[in-house]
Every structure is written in structure tokens, then in C-alpha cells.
């Protein structure tokens, strides 16, 4: 593979009609996720149907965005050349208080302080040059 795409911008999320409320929530500084009207399962990522019971009636709710670190890795080699300037990448799967798992990255987290189970708080991170906001997490100190 050549290095032809090294100058490409990082890929940004493009909302679908179904997921738009999630991204709109982040821009408003809120974490909004869906809950199934039928079985009350919390749902992430946004879907048209509940992945537990396949009901097609899901309702958006605003949640705290707080959670705990379910697992992580610190990638010393970039996961992709587009992320070379982010090394070491602190990749995480975060378990929100509602139980859903969210792939993200950790910020303001020195490697030695990272521990599975640690409490985390949401960080609303505006994307470079874009109008979007990504959901990252930092150690919750409060």
C-alpha cells in the first residue's frame, strides 16, 4: 500500500436520518441515546429497530453520558495511517451508566492512570474544520 492517502483528512461521521438526533445532541452538549418502547432496552448505536427484541419503536432520551471504562488499548502503532498523528491512540470501549457500550477514545488520561472500571465523563470534542462534535471521554474526577 502506498502513502498516497496520508494527506487525506480524518474520516468524519456522516449522520443518517436515524442517527441524526445523536449527533445533534452532541452539538448541544448532550448525550442522547435510544430506548426501546417495547422491552426498555437501551440501544447504542442508533438503530431503526431494537437489537434485543426487534421492535421498531425507539425513543430518544438524554442521559448523563457518564460511565466506566469497559476495556481499552494504547496503540503504539497507528491503527491506520490516517491516525498516525494520534499515536499513542488511547482507544476505549466505554460502558455508559445505562449499560450500552460506546467505542471512543480517552482524553486527559495519562497511560499509567488508565484502569478498567475507572469512572468516565463525556467530552464533547468539536471536529477539526467541521461542524460536528465527537464523543470522547475523560477520567471523572467529580
Amino acid at each position: 500500500m502506498s502513502n498516497a492517502f496520508e494527506d487525506m483528512p480524518k474520516p468524519l461521521p456522516v449522520a443518517t436520518e436515524t442517527s441524526a438526533p445523536f449527533w445533534k445532541g452532541l452539538r448541544a452538549g448532550e448525550v442522547r441515546i435510544q430506548r426501546c418502547d417495547a422491552c426498555e432496552a437501551w440501544v447504542f448505536y442508533p438503530r431503526s429497530h431494537c437489537p434485543r427484541c426487534l421492535a421498531n419503536t425507539l425513543t430518544w432520551q438524554t442521559v448523563s453520558g457518564r460511565g466506566v471504562l469497559h476495556t481499552y488499548t494504547i496503540a503504539e502503532q497507528p491503527t491506520n495511517p490516517l491516525f498516525a498523528d494520534d499515536v499513542p491512540q488511547k482507544l476505549a470501549i466505554v460502558e455508559l451508566e445505562e449499560g450500552v457500550h460506546v467505542p471512543s477514545t480517552l482524553v486527559d488520561a495519562p497511560p499509567e492512570a488508565i484502569e478498567i472500571g475507572m469512572p468516565l465523563a463525556p467530552v464533547f470534542d468539536p471536529t477539526e474544520g467541521g461542524e460536528g462534535v465527537l464523543l470522547r471521554f475523560r477520567p471523572a474526577t467529580d
Binding site: 496503540a75 503504539e76 502503532q77 497507528p78 491506520n80 491516525f83 467505542p103 465527537l134
Partner: protein
């Protein structure tokens, strides 16, 4: 219910894995044709007898893959399928072929996975294919990965498997020397296989732990070496197998389980789909774990092999590292594991990597594995893993 043991692997072909491939670049259709020819020669079967075909994706066409391959090979078949299970493809191909044969649809099935470099399209201004950037992740509009993973750098395999290993460490505890021993013992096996890419290069656990950390806690030597190569095999009815030159290797049991595409969405990162797949396979074959003479488990990473040993039932959940410490995993040991070196030390030829594991079981069950032959090898367990422990298949193979 299930397979009745009326189909067998009767021919195999293995292209020697090569770290620096210097041969001609040919389209995958040509590679499949050559692999099929070699496997049919091994089986002593003429191409005209082939009436079934299982393919992976091929570079030359996005759709109508089986028809394109059948046409290119000049085959007219009653059963054709393209399997899309990543590293579980090889195992998935074998049981689909065996099932089609037992249904009476066909008699001789070609399964081939090529993984040598293909030629570049010489035409200028070809549309850019972003699969080159994103690999196994989809960046297509509407893809959950494009929206919720790729923007955060959650890409490729290393990070996913490392996150599973970190979770394992937190839940069950960790012994990095035992993890390293998986790579060390398999390297010992590679040293008994002249075709393995790391033949002649034994390592110690210190070497593994001194190798660069790629994604914490996984070191370079716990991660597969990508190579060029390819494998094929022929599955035939038991009746047809009677007159083939080698000992037929009976497909005695199979299982498969798919759950998620990405580890973030797994219900439990440490309870992998190969558990259900293996229970199905053992149950169908009427085999016990104690009966297994050889385990060829998919080993893209040490953690993959570890979790497979646990979930396939060779030891209890959380006891995998103790199991590795307590057993000699080499070809002369008490629990021979990936006797060709595994993909860690034989090499991973792209999507064909998992077929090296099936074919190694065939060589061992034929008692034709040379210096690495496992004594009295009669029953083997083989697993395949696609994605990040997200789609897994299992086989029980027996000498016929």
C-alpha cells in the same frame, strides 16, 4: 441430524507462504484455477468430476462470484457459494461442501482461497477504492462502523484484539509469559515445518516480551506475519473418497456462530462464538475433548488461541493461561497445537490463512506431516475466526 460422516477431504494444495513474494502477479481467478488444479491432482480426481464450488470474494468481481469462478475454471456445478466469513472462511467452506454432498447435491467440491498479490489495474484514473484504506471496516454511508468507529480510529484488527486481551487481564488475571508461550511453542512447531516462514528461527518467551508493543498488551511476536500464499482443498463423497490416493479425512462434525461485527457491540468480549460452534461440532461428531489428538485453532493473535482453547472447552473459562503453562503445545507435546506453526509462525496468507489450519489437520490425519507428525493422530479439532472474534466456525475431522 447433522453431518453423518459421508463426506471427506480428499485433496489439498498449499502454496508455500512467502514474506517477500517475487513471482508474477496474477488475477485471483487465475490463482483459484491453479490452486484447484493442484488440489485435484493431490486428490487424483479429474476436473470433469467437479460438481460443486465454494469461493471467497475475488478481486475481479464484486458480484456473481461463484458463476464467474465456475465459468473461468470451466466447471458446471450443482452447488456454488461465496463465503464471506473472513478468517472463518476455510472452516465454513468445508462444512458447506460436506453438507451439500450429504444432501446429494454434488459429489466433488472445490474450495480454494488465493492470497497472492494481484496485478494493478493499468488503466489511468481508476475510481479510488476506499477498501484499501479501511480494510475490514466499512466506510460506506450508513455503515455503523463508518459513523461510530472509524472517526475515533477504531480500525483494523490489532486494537480490537488488544482490547479483548486487556479485558481478559482485568477479569481473569494475566500471565504474559504464558501468553508468550503460545507463540514460542508454535514457533517450535514451525521449526519442524520446512515451508513455515519462520522455519529455522526458534524464539523464547523473552524474545516475545522484548518485541515491540503494538497495542498494549500485545507484542509484535503475538501477532500474525502477513504473507503471500494460498490454499485449496477438495471435499468428496465418502463413496468417491474410497478410490482416492490418500487417506480420506472425514468431516465428522461442524458448527458455526456469528454475533457482531465489532467488539464494542459484543455482549461479552470474553465469551466468544466459537463456544457454541464447538459444542455443535463435538455434539455432531459424538466426540469428546479428550479424544482430540490435534487442535488447529485460528491464531491471528495469541489471545485468539487462548480464548478458543477456553471456549471450545479444552479448559475452563479463565483457566487458559494455566492450561498453556501446564501443557506442551508442540508437535511432540501432550497437547499439540497448530503443528504447522500456526498463522503466527507459518504465516498468514490473507484470507487463506485459516485454510492452512484445515490443511495441516489433513496432513497430520494422513500421517504425512514429516518431522512434525503427531503420533497416532486420528481426530482433530479445527477452528476459524473472522472479524474480531465475531464469527467463528469449528470442525471435527477424523481419519477415514
Amino acid at each position: 441430524m447433522g453431518l453423518r460422516g459421508e463426506a471427506a477431504i480428499v485433496g489439498v494444495a498449499d502454496w508455500k507462504p512467502e514474506r517477500k513474494y517475487e513471482g508474477p502477479r496474477v488475477p485471483m481467478l487465475e490463482q483459484i484455477a491453479e490452486l484447484a488444479r493442484l488440489a485435484l491432482v493431490d486428490a487424483g480426481i479429474e476436473a470433469a468430476e467437479v460438481d460443486g464450488l465454494v469461493t471467497p470474494m475475488v478481486a475481479e468481481t464484486r458480484g456473481f462470484v461463484p458463476a464467474t469462478v465456475a465459468e473461468y475454471l470451466g466447471l458446471e456445478v450443482n452447488f456454488a457459494e461465496k463465503v464471506d466469513l473472513g478468517g472463518a472462511n476455510a472452516v465454513g467452506m468445508v462444512w458447506r461442501a460436506a453438507a451439500a454432498i450429504e444432501l446429494g447435491l454434488c459429489n466433488v467440491v472445490v474450495c480454494a482461497i488465493p492470497a497472492r498479490p494481484t496485478p494493478r489495474d493499468p488503466r489511468p484514473d481508476q475510481p479510488f477504492d476506499d477498501r484499501w484504506i479501511y480494510g475490514a471496516s466499512s466506510n460506506s454511508f450508513g455503515s455503523p462502523q463508518a459513523e461510530f468507529e472509524i472517526p475515533y480510529g477504531h480500525l483494523a484488527q490489532n486494537a480490537g484484539y488488544s482490547m479483548i486481551a486487556q479485558r481478559y487481564r482485568a477479569v481473569h488475571g494475566y500471565d504474559e509469559r504464558a501468553m508468550a508461550k503460545i507463540a514460542v511453542d508454535q514457533r517450535t512447531n514451525a521449526c519442524a515445518h520446512p515451508d513455515a516462514v519462520f522455519h529455522g528461527q526458534p524464539i523464547t518467551d523473552d524474545d516475545v516480551l522484548a518485541s515491540r508493543v503494538i497495542a498494549d498488551p500485545l507484542h509484535l511476536l503475538e501477532i500474525v506475519m502477513p504473507v503471500a500464499g494460498g490454499h485449496a482443498l477438495i471435499v468428496a463423497s465418502a463413496d468417491r473418497a474410497k478410490t482416492t490416493p490418500h487417506r480420506p479425512i472425514v468431516v465428522a462434525g461442524c458448527g458455526e456462530r456469528l454475533t457482531v461485527k465489532s467488539p464494542a457491540n459484543a455482549r461479552d468480549l470474553l465469551e466468544t462464538p466459537v463456544g457454541v460452534a464447538s459444542d455443535l461440532a463435538f455434539g455432531m461428531a459424538g466426540a469428546t475433548r479428550e479424544e482430540i489428538d490435534l487442535a488447529c485453532v485460528y491464531d491471528c493473535y495469541t489471545i485468539t488461541a487462548l480464548l478458543t482453547l477456553e471456549d471450545a472447552g479444552f479448559c475452563k473459562k479463565g483457566q487458559g493461561l494455566a492450561f498453556v503453562r501446564d501443557h506442551d503445545l508442540t508437535c511432540s507435546g501432550d497437547f499439540p497445537l497448530n503443528t504447522h506453526g500456526g498463522q503466527l509462525s507459518y504465516g498468514q496468507a490473507g484470507g487463506a490463512g485459516g485454510m492452512s489450519q484445515v490443511n495441516e489437520a489433513v496432513h497430520q490425519l494422513r500421517h504425512a506431516a514429516g518431522a512434525r507428525q503427531v503420533a497416532n493422530c486420528e481426530t482433530a479439532f479445527v477452528s476459524g475466526t473472522g472479524g474480531v472474534m465475531s464469527e467463528q466456525s469449528a470442525l471435527i475431522l477424523r481419519g477415514g
